[in-house]
């Protein structure tokens, strides 16, 4: 079959040095970061655990709202959904694509929306209340929280922290960072990031242009690493 033959052909040539290259912005200045294949595998393992904590498993339907350039952050969650046996769909982040997120929720047995942003939440308009009522778990960008709360949701947080992604667990005690990979420090309310693992992208106290706070200590979910909180105006 075609998939089998092309997969075999791909396996016969050298794998690229990197999984890919991503880009985030600090005060409008682009910062590029490399993602190695090992990085991607570890990010996926962490994503799998985070999704499983939210009850995602075989047959759970997800809508993952993330644009193509956000793939360095969101692909591990897509891959994790696949590995968990959870069918997923992708909603774009542009307002004119909001209909797609709404359509998936209305037509499929969706149990989680992951990554919804303010643009999509607002563009859903009157439909948002129905979407919120139908989906058990909404993990949203900080800027979407006020809109979702007005529609009756109690969203969890997912937010990009420079090259990292922070995700809240069901205990609602701040968004977890993968502590094996990243360390975030706070100085006068400003966040800085340092790479902790053997990542392709090395960062040492790199400014993120984000204001927020960091907490540590055990969480009810059993994780012991850092958790971050950013305001709705800061998170992406």
């Amino acid at each position: 079959m075609t998939l089998a033959s092309t997969t075999a052909a791909a396996a016969s040539i050298p794998r690229s040095r990197l999984w890919g290259i991503g880009r985030y912005y600090v005060d409008d200045t682009p910062v590029d970061f490399e993602i190695g294949w090992d990085d991607w595998e570890r990010d996926t393992a962490w994503a799998r655990a985070m999704l499983a904590d939210h009850g995602i498993g075989p047959g759970s339907g997800l809508v993952i709202v993330g644009g193509m350039p956000e793939s360095p952050w969101f692909d591990p969650f897509e891959t994790a959904a696949r590995e968990l046996g959870a069918p997923y769909s992708i909603g774009e982040v542009y307002p004119f694509e909001a209909f797609r997120t709404g359509m998936y929720v209305h037509r499929l047995p969706i149990t989680m929306i992951f990554g919804i942003n303010r643009a999509i939440a607002e563009a859903l308009g009157d439909e948002l209340a129905d979407v919120v009522a139908q989906v058990g778990v909404i993990v949203a960008r900080p800027d979407a929280h006020p809109v979702l709360q007005d529609a009756g949701a109690r969203p969890f947080t997912v937010t990009r922290i420079g090259p990292a992604l922070a995700v809240e667990c069901p205990d609602r005690a701040g968004a977890h960072l993968n502590g094996a990979e990243w360390i975030v420090t706070e100085e006068d309310g400003r966040l800085f990031i340092t790479s902790a693992g053997s990542r392709a992208h090395r960062a040492s106290r790199a400014a993120l242009g984000i204001r927020g706070s960091v907490s540590a200590g055990p969480c009810g979910c059993g994780r012991t690493g850092q958790r971050v909180t950013v305001s709705p105006s800061q998170g992406v």
């Binding site: 079959m1 075609t2 998939l3 033959s5 092309t6 997969t7 052909a9 791909a10 016969s12 040539i13 050298p14 794998r15 690229s16 040095r17 990197l18 999984w19 890919g20 290259i21 991503g22 880009r23 682009p30 590029d32 075989p58 047959g59 339907g61 993330g66 644009g67 193509m68 350039p69 956000e70 793939s71 360095p72 692909d75 897509e78 696949r82 046996g85 069918p87 997923y88 769909s89 992708i90 909603g91 774009e92 542009y94 307002p95 004119f96 694509e97 209909f99 797609r100 359509m103 998936y104 037509r107 499929l108 047995p109």
Partner: protein, 431 residues
């Protein structure tokens, strides 16, 4: 193993007799499988009084198997409350991804896949990218939209490194910076991207920027003559690609002589648009697709509404799989006051007016036959000093092209761009 020309030489250059045998084998497996599992297909076959036992060859299939249209899928979906419109052949839990058609020409429909490592929709695209020249270690600029999934899988399958910067709406100014930095070999372009690049070309040396490119693919809508000329001036070799009936992608090769449909993954037919008979090679026909490698939501003789010309003659590149040339959408022909035209006629007219040369427009058409020609047109606000004066010239250009005076709604380009979906602007809308 990939060689200097082909990702899968044996398959891509397979003699047509062997290709037909392979297709027959897959069709004979598919028919009982799908009849047993797909509610929509079974319903269509029962109505046509055709049973799997009646299909014993590829010829039987193309003579007797009933067609399915997108409206059939929508109707079944709405009547049966089945999100997949009766196409799903497995449990929902067995599906890995559910994506949807762009929705530019109507209500979007779903298609599902099951997969482990590479998304099946893009797996065969690795052959096309390899043919364009994408090689291990190359950087490739990521595409602008993800609604059809991880297109970068095809890059990674070729050993290339996707540079995932914003190439969606409003992202190209910063994407140019990534081109300078990584010197990518390849990128995906859309009409909406071309609008941005057109503006950016006023302040950037596009020839220098694109000099690293082995090629760029363009999809989503026709490439207007002006855009094509502009890309040529920038030194970009453009490879058109399109969807083969929502089953897989079909790309041009370096011969630029039709889009290759990988016939080990799709059975392609060109059928009389107003009938059921196959048309001869090179004649206008409607693209009809049958999935040969999707056990989740296989299309079976799906009438795509895409009007094409197709040939099964071998290509100059050495590949033997069928090629086709998209011509337009069935039903795009519009009649105003007894005069007939297609959207490309308006496209060409707008390209001749500098302020609307990006040809961003929508034909507002509640029905195929209309009394009044209403066109929504985007103009470049940076180039426009008098909207009224632009209106006069646009009216004159459209009137000359189609023989009817239009009623115009002029909007600044960004406002019209915001009405795009899935990387393209619907060219024919009801309101």
């Amino acid at each position: 193993m990939p060689d200097d020309r082909y990702f899968e030489r044996e398959i891509e250059t397979m003699p047509r007799t062997r290709l037909a045998s392979l297709q027959e084998e897959r069709i004979l497996d598919l028919v009982p499988y799908v009849y047993e599992r797909s509610s929509l297909v079974r319903k269509a076959w029962e109505q046509a009084k055709v049973k799997p036992a009646d299909i014993n060859s590829l010829a039987d299939f193309t003579e007797r198997a009933p067609f399915i249209t997108k409206d059939d899928i929508r109707r079944f979906r709405d009547q049966a409350g089945d999100p997949f419109g009766g196409l799903l052949c497995t449990d929902y839990a067995d599906v890995t991804t559910v994506f949807s058609t762009s929705g530019t020409t109507g209500d979007a429909t779903f298609y599902g896949h099951a997969w482990d490592r590479w998304h099946p929709f893009w797996a065969a695209t690795a052959r096309d990218l390899w043919g364009i020249g994408v090689r291990p270690g190359d950087y490739v600029l990521g595409s602008g939209f993800k609604m059809r999934g991880q297109l970068y899988h095809a890059d990674q399958m070729c050993g290339a490194i996707p540079v995932l910067v914003d190439t969606g709406i409003g992202g190209w100014a910063t994407a140019l910076d990534a081109i300078r930095r990584y010197r990518p070999a390849y990128a995906q372009l859309t009409g909406l991207a071309m609008v941005e690049l057109d503006h950016l070309s006023r302040h950037n040396d596009m020839n220098e920027l694109f000099s690293c490119f082995k090629g760029a693919a363009f999809a989503g809508e026709p490439l207007g003559a002006r855009m094509r000329e502009q890309l040529k001036r920038w030194g970009v070799e453009v490879y058109m690609w399109t969807s083969a009936g929502d089953v897989t992608g079909a790309f041009e090769c370096g011969q630029h002589d039709g889009c290759h449909a990988w016939e080990d993954t799709v059975l392609l037919e060109a059928i009389d648009p107003s009938g059921t008979a196959a048309v001869a090679d090179g004649e206008l026909g409607e693209l009809v697709a049958t999935s040969l490698d999707n056990p989740i939501t296989p299309m079976v003789r799906f009438r795509s509404d895409d009007i094409i010309r197709m040939t099964r003659q071998p290509c100059g590149c050495g590949r033997t799989h069928a090629r086709f040339w998209p011509v337009g959408r069935k039903g795009d022909e519009t009649i105003v006051a007894g005069r007939s035209f297609v959207p490309m006629d308006i496209w060409r007219a707008l390209e001749a007016v500098p302020e609307t040369a990006t040809a961003l427009f929508q034909l507002v058409r509640p029905a195929r036959e209309i009394d009044e020609l209403r066109v929504r047109v985007g103009y470049d606000p940076d180039m426009t000093t008098s909207v009224a004066e632009v209106r006069d010239r646009v009216c004159e250009a459209i009137s000359a092209a189609v023989g009817v005076q239009p009623v115009l709604e002029l909007l600044p380009e960004p406002e019209l761009l915001a009405r795009g979906r899935g990387g393209k602007l619907p060219r024919v809308v009801k309101a």
